[in-house]
């Protein structure tokens, strides 16, 4: 009764085979589930992963909701992810977020009505040395100023789709692990 196709289950099984325990395959299994779910991880998919890895569904949901990289709600074609942790905050991340909210007309965590751009707050991107840091798809932008982000917004508005997609979408488990 799984929500997964046989092909997906084969992908999961292959992942499981790489680890000493089924539980250890949880993170990549969630990537796969998000991938086949069209970039979204809904409760049905979490439950299916749970039953496949023999874990309590609550534990899977706990893990999925811990990481901002798993999308519990659908995202736009582009996601502007702005780090709001301490170093970035000290270098104006909050102002940057407010600026984007203003110019996109949405709040952080929301998607523009045309489904094109999602604005998100994320935890430390590991680029604190060049705070504030922003990630769009698999690209990092550092020392980001308001002008800089405005230019980026104009640029991605003109693109029909994200050429390098979200990082997790790119990750075909066979290529990247």
């Amino acid at each position: 009764m799984s929500v997964f196709s046989e092909e997906t289950i084969a992908r999961l099984d292959e992942l499981i085979s790489r680890y000493p325990t089924k539980k250890a395959a949880l993170l990549p299994a969630l990537w796969v589930a998000q991938d086949v779910g069209g970039g979204v991880l809904n409760p049905d998919a979490m439950e299916a992963v749970a039953s496949h890895l023999e874990l309590p569904p609550a534990e899977v949901q706990g893990v999925a909701t811990f990481y901002t990289m798993y999308n519990k709600v659908p995202r736009g074609k582009f996601a502007i992810e702005i780090c709001h942790n301490v170093p970035c905050m000290a270098f104006g991340a909050e102002e940057l977020i407010a600026h984007c909210e203003h110019s996109l007309g949405i709040s952080a965590g929301e998607t523009t009505p045309d489904g094109h751009i999602t604005l998100a707050r994320v935890e430390c991107l590991g680029a604190c040395c060049n705070a504030p840091a922003v990630q769009i798809g698999s690209k990092y932008y550092e020392n980001v100023s308001a002008e800089h982000i405005d230019a980026l917004i104009v640029q991605i508005k003109s693109l029909p789709d994200n050429p390098d997609h979200t990082p997790q979408g790119l990750i075909s488990e066979t290529a990247s692990f």
């Binding site: 309590p56 609550a58 534990e59 949901q61 706990g62 909701t65 811990f66 935890e123």
Partner: protein, 749 residues
């Protein structure tokens, strides 16, 4: 040290000498607060409040005082906490007191014993006192052994430590990377090292404790006045003992919807949660269903059931008891009273045969809450939800409140006098006309041992009939071959044809413990035919077979024979609170008290009861109903049982009850069987009487009266004793205890 505090120091030392196992409950901060009461079970603040505020641990000899994780042998060289205070003041080593010297001698002996058995012992100095503990002990436990005072929220001796709350800080000097250094560290998730030095009360530690509490309270709503935990809340107690006088936070607190029901029994208030993860660890490690988990992260972290489904675990109520704040509270106890208004009575659960030790807590004559009590041999400190939430029928308005007599087809309320008069007249008349063999008695696996014994005496000794039974379906009475606790030591556990979680909850917890902690293999099969024999043939004596009573008797006997052959332990698990008490009381067609055959027990019983017992063979329940349907049995006396509903073939029971000329039923409610009765007598629930239950292992345990009998109801034993007097055999039974003593003698003990 002032003169006075010296005195109190001596006093402490003396009490502790009497109790060589000082529990964390005897540490000073707890002694002054509610949360203590009780036990080493670390069920913070939820321990039962004894009558008149006396700590229950002093009332109940069953509550063990050891704070250490179960199975962890620990020893102390000395512990007077008042001495510790003196130590803190000077911070220099000092001579040991006599008591400490004696203790250290014992602990040396223990250490040697441990060394010979291969357990390495480490010496740790806590606040100037050295204690020896086995390698692998958590520092917090070593501190408890030394009588030191370490506050905690997330630590629980039965759960794995996660270091989630940071409350248990102490200044720990240890060997690290080749150097000795001192650091403020959490002690619950740090193992002792040999020669470690721990200080629990330095200014740095105090500052850290202050800080942790300030953080924990930053988002806490502090709605104590409307919180069911208020008054027995570890967060309140710790704040008083260790908290900062004021908070520097002026920001708006985090908000969540209040009072979210997780199930029919448990309510969650996420604003109060301190993310200690006791509840999530409980569902994962103890109950094994992992239904609760922490979702989201950082300040948004919240406890939840998967995707807002229901918290269906049969053990959900335990999370309420171990939650150190008022985040998880009970729906049945919601706003039912403040903890200090509640009286608590130690008793035994009446719902199943496991025999959990419970505290029946009542306020103004109403049972408001049932909590678990520690008994390491049975339920450790847990209960199932049936035990915690399934016994509120006690307070039901539908309870019978006075005797009912059937007149012209309808029940009419009567006095006890009238009812007894009628029963005595009718039974005497039937006996005179048709002989004693036309009267039969049905006992109950839910009434006490004493009550069943007395029913046996009324039937056999006063009326003179042997038609007596208690089983609603026939199963062999084969005793368990292990105790509940021993189950956890088997390598293979095979359970057949039952949902263990619901049918035998506490046995299930042991089985899960064996599987989780000791790597046992738990095999659940639907029936004995599913390859059980092949499995047992392989594992033999390393296995235990768990069987429900509702299998065919022939199958059970087959399994029994097979187990004898392979050396597998055979455990037949009976269903009700007193499934063993009814037969041992002698409620069997052909056995006397103590389950003695007539040949054995006859002389004793005849001498004690002063009568000659009938020689006619007794009939079992099925035959009783069949004979009644044929008109041979005229009167049936049913105590606390409901054959019209629960007999293996209910229609057969109904036919018998219908045909019998005279039926008496003692029950709490107007049961299906009571519908056939001519006289219905209202009896009292387990919370309203004293007595003995015999659990699945054959262990006798006492239930104690918590509240007065509802309405005009009376305990079953009282009813039977009164009836005996009306039938011409008055015996002055004043208490269930009197009957118990008589039972012991009658059973040849």
């Amino acid at each position: 040290m002032s003169e006075e505090s010296k005195k109190s120091a001596e006093k402490t030392a003396n009490t502790q000498a009497a109790n060589p196992n000082p529990s964390p409950a005897s540490t000073p901060h707890e002694a002054g607060s509610q949360q203590v009461i009780g036990e080493g079970s670390a069920k913070l603040g939820n321990a039962p409040v004894g009558a008149s505020g006396v700590p229950v641990s002093m009332q109940s000899p069953t509550a063990p005082a050891s704070p250490a994780a179960p199975g962890t042998p620990t020893s102390a060289t000395g512990s007077p906490s008042a001495e510790k205070a003196a130590e803190k003041a000077s911070e220099t080593p000092r001579d040991k007191t006599d008591i400490e010297k004696k203790d250290s001698a014992t602990s040396e002996a223990k250490a040697q014993a441990a060394a010979t058995s291969g357990v390495e012992m480490f010496t740790v100095t806590v606040d100037g006192l050295s204690v020896e503990v086995p390698k692998g002990t958590a520092v917090i436990e070593a501190c408890f052994r030394a009588g030191a005072d370490v506050p905690y929220f997330c630590y629980h001796p039965r759960l794995e430590s996660v270091g989630a709350c940071r409350m248990c800080v102490a200044a720990v000097e240890l060997e690290q990377f080749g150097a000795r250094r001192t650091a403020i560290m959490t002690t619950c998730n740090l193992q002792v090292q040999n020669g470690m030095v721990v200080k629990t009360g330095t200014p740095d530690v105090k500052k850290a404790q202050n800080g942790i509490l300030e953080f924990l309270l930053a988002n806490h709503p502090l709605d104590c006045p409307i919180c069911d935990r208020g008054g027995e809340c570890p967060l309140q107690n710790m704040t008083i003992a260790y908290g900062p006088p004021t908070s520097r936070f002026i920001e708006e607190k985090r908000h969540f919807p209040k009072a979210v029901p997780l199930s029919d029994f448990v309510i969650l208030d996420r604003e109060r949660c301190i993310q200690c993860m006791r509840c999530t660890r409980f569902t994962d490690e103890i109950a094994g269903d992992g239904q609760l988990d922490l979702l989201d992260r950082g300040a948004e972290s919240k406890i939840a059931v998967f995707s807002d489904t229901k918290f269906t675990s049969n053990f959900s109520g335990n999370t309420i008891e171990i939650c150190p704040v008022g985040a998880l509270t009970s729906r049945t106890y919601r706003f039912a009273g403040r903890p200090w208004e509640i009286k608590s009575v130690d008793s035994i659960c009446a719902e199943c045969g496991n025999g959990c030790n419970i505290a029946v807590q009542h306020r103004m004559g109403e049972v408001v809450r049932i909590n678990g009590r520690t008994n390491e041999d049975i339920n450790e400190e847990w209960t199932c939800d049936r035990g915690k939430f399934g016994q509120y029928y006690i307070n039901s308005d539908k309870r019978l409140s006075s005797p009912l007599i059937r007149r012209e087809g309808r029940f009419v309320e009567s006095t006890w006098e009238e009812a007894f008069g009628m029963i005595a007249d009718r039974l005497s008349q039937i006996k005179a006309q048709y002989g004693a063999g036309s009267i039969a008695g049905i006992g109950s696996t839910r009434c006490t041992l004493e009550e069943n014994y007395l029913l046996g005496r009324v039937m056999r000794g006063v009326i003179g009939t042997n038609h007596l039974d208690h089983q609603m379906s026939s199963y062999p009475l084969l005793p368990m071959q292990t105790t509940i606790a021993e189950i956890e030591n088997f390598k293979t556990i095979v359970s057949v044809g039952m949902e263990l979680q619901r049918e035998q909850p506490i046995v299930y917890l042991r089985v899960y413990k064996a599987k989780r902690r000791k790597g046992a293999n738990w095999i659940e099969v639907a029936s004995l035919d599913s390859g059980v024999e092949a499995i047992l043939r392989q594992v033999g004596a390393e296995a235990v077979l768990l069987l429900p009573h509702h299998l065919q008797a022939s199958e059970l006997e087959r399994a029994f024979a097979f187990c004898q052959e392979t050396g597998t332990k055979f455990n037949l698990l009976l269903p009700d609170a007193n499934s063993w008490g009814a037969p041992t009381a002698g409620i069997l067609p052909n056995a006397l008290p103590g389950m003695r055959p007539f040949a054995d027990g006859r002389a004793d019983v005849e001498r004690m009861w002063g009568v000659k017992l009938s020689d006619a063979p007794g009939k079992a329940a099925g035959d009783i109903f069949a004979s009644a349907a044929k008109g041979e049995i005229k009167a049936i006396y049913v105590m606390g049982n409901d054959p019209a509903k629960e007999f293996a073939d209910p229609s057969q029971a109904r036919r018998g009850l219908e045909s019998a000329a005279f039926v008496v039923v003692q029950d709490l409610f107007l049961s299906d069987t009571a519908q056939f009765a001519d006289v219905v007598l209202p009896s009292s629930s387990f919370a309203e009487k004293d007595g003995t239950f015999v659990n699945i292992e054959g262990r006798e345990q006492k239930i104690k009266q918590a509240i007065a009998p509802r309405g005009n109801s009376r305990p079953d034993w009282r009813i039977l004793a009164d009836l005996m007097a009306r039938l011409g055999t008055p015996v002055p039974y004043f208490s269930a205890r009197d009957i118990y003593r008589e039972y012991r003698r009658a059973s040849g003990a």
